[in-house]
Symmetry: C2
Subunit: 264 residues, 2 copies
């Protein structure tokens, strides 16, 4: 099963890490749209178009399944189940919601997410459809992606900002917290420290694996292929990938070159 | 004189504010490339292409002068003196350097800038050419643009982050500090508080005005025209413009629609 996935930047690498652990013999193609990073504060119409373009790009690589490894992009693309070529498309919203619904005991779920994801209301709507008696408390956390991208994990600044974002969720007595952005698992320890041990964190990277397992096809004997494509030749992407995710065996990055402005 | 200017987002509005004060009867066209914001962590090749595209867009509007109101874009485009149509192009690097060289008494100038600008070495090289005996101390400050974009000015977090960035410059005994990004004048008070009263801040928006004054042509009797174009329909752009810059009379935003991914 050749797995294609994309994110705006390094966040999707948390999904990539899980995939490589669970599917060590699967070819993988990763697209980081670093030239247009970050996605979390872009308008829905813009994100829809970026998502469609990224799916079309991965489709050209003849992948067997495409993962939208970005919550902001997923939040505006829940209706996309297949690419134009018919390749199955998996988003990171549904699997996290299913796992959170299983996890919560007091029926109070918190969601930490980007502006774009929070304003889309995708989490409350999805969970309400599955379990109408569950309360969902959403908190937008726009500075967490820059903090991760700039390697400010485990600093006093990250702690202060996290405390500010998490306070309303803790006051609402949530017992389950969805990390609603693929960057956030990189801050998982700091978030758990701030929440205390009684709150269950839902890591979207782990949630999405179950969807993949269900779709798993017979393994081929091909040599596992692992490609990374970036739309910007971002030097810190490689540093991040190696440092944050302990991925020393990254393949050479294939830079697509910058994007061209084209009026609609 | 119809003035065109562009930035990745709200930062260029600090230049716009100065222009409107100094040239109240000039038509203005502002392009915010919000769909590809931020510029400060993009690769040089990417920024060069974005700059050329933005200049070409403003050229189509028949402006008389084009200001690159973004330091990251300016840092890779110092050689661009005219557009393809022959319109003069002004960057924000040169004017700040000239003013800083005039200002410094102990010949130690600090520069606070994005990663892209800092790594381009454009400030040390420019100043060395003009005055070889001046020391230039550069500090990259990648979190300041997200802090401004997310309205974290005047917070404890901004103070801690600024203190971290400014400490090496203060230790180097600078007496003049170039705000090397058009977002930073929004944090000018916090930066001045952290530096103390003896360090002169150089605001790029004010520096660039002198270049414009020198190019000023006879005023026309046309009704002043004021257009804002955005490549992403970013709702917080308008909020920022009105709140941060006290610009209640903003014209309706003209959204260009999202960009199309096109392989080189």
């Amino acid at each position: 099963m050749h797995i294609g996935l994309f994110d705006s930047g390094v966040g999707g690498l948390t999904v990539l890490r899980e995939i490589r652990q669970k599917f060590p013999s699967s070819p993988i193609s990763y697209l980081g749209d670093t030239a247009r990073l970050p996605y979390g504060n872009k308008a829905p119409q813009t994100l829809k178009q970026y998502t469609q373009e990224n799916i079309a790009f991965l489709d050209q690589l003849h992948v067997d399944v495409i993962i939208i490894a970005c919550h902001s992009a997923s939040s505006v693309s829940l209706n996309i189940k297949h690419s134009q070529k018919g390749t199955p498309v998996i988003n990171v919203i549904g699997p996290s919601c299913e796992e959170a619904i299983q996890s919560t005991k007091n029926k109070k779920i918190g969601v930490l997410a980007t502006k774009a994801t929070t304003r889309s209301q995708v989490y409350p709507e999805y969970i309400r459809q599955q379990a109408a008696d569950i309360q969902v408390h959403s908190q937008e956390a726009p500075l967490l992606v820059p903090l991760v991208e700039e390697d400010y994990s485990n600093t006093q600044v990250a702690k202060i900002i996290l405390e500010g974002y998490l306070r309303p969720l803790l006051d609402a007595s949530i017992d389950t917290l969805i990390l609603g952005c693929t960057h956030y698992p990189i801050l998982a320890q700091e978030i758990q420290d701030c929440c205390g041990p009684n709150i269950q964190l839902i890591d979207p990277a782990r949630s999405v694996i179950q969807s993949l397992v269900e779709r798993q096809t017979a393994a081929t004997n091909d040599q596992p292929k692992f490609d990374i494509y970036l739309t910007d030749q971002s030097p810190h992407f490689l540093e991040h990938a190696q440092k944050l995710l302990n991925l020393p065996d990254l393949p050479p990055i294939k830079a697509l070159g910058p994007l061209t402005l084209k009026r609609q």
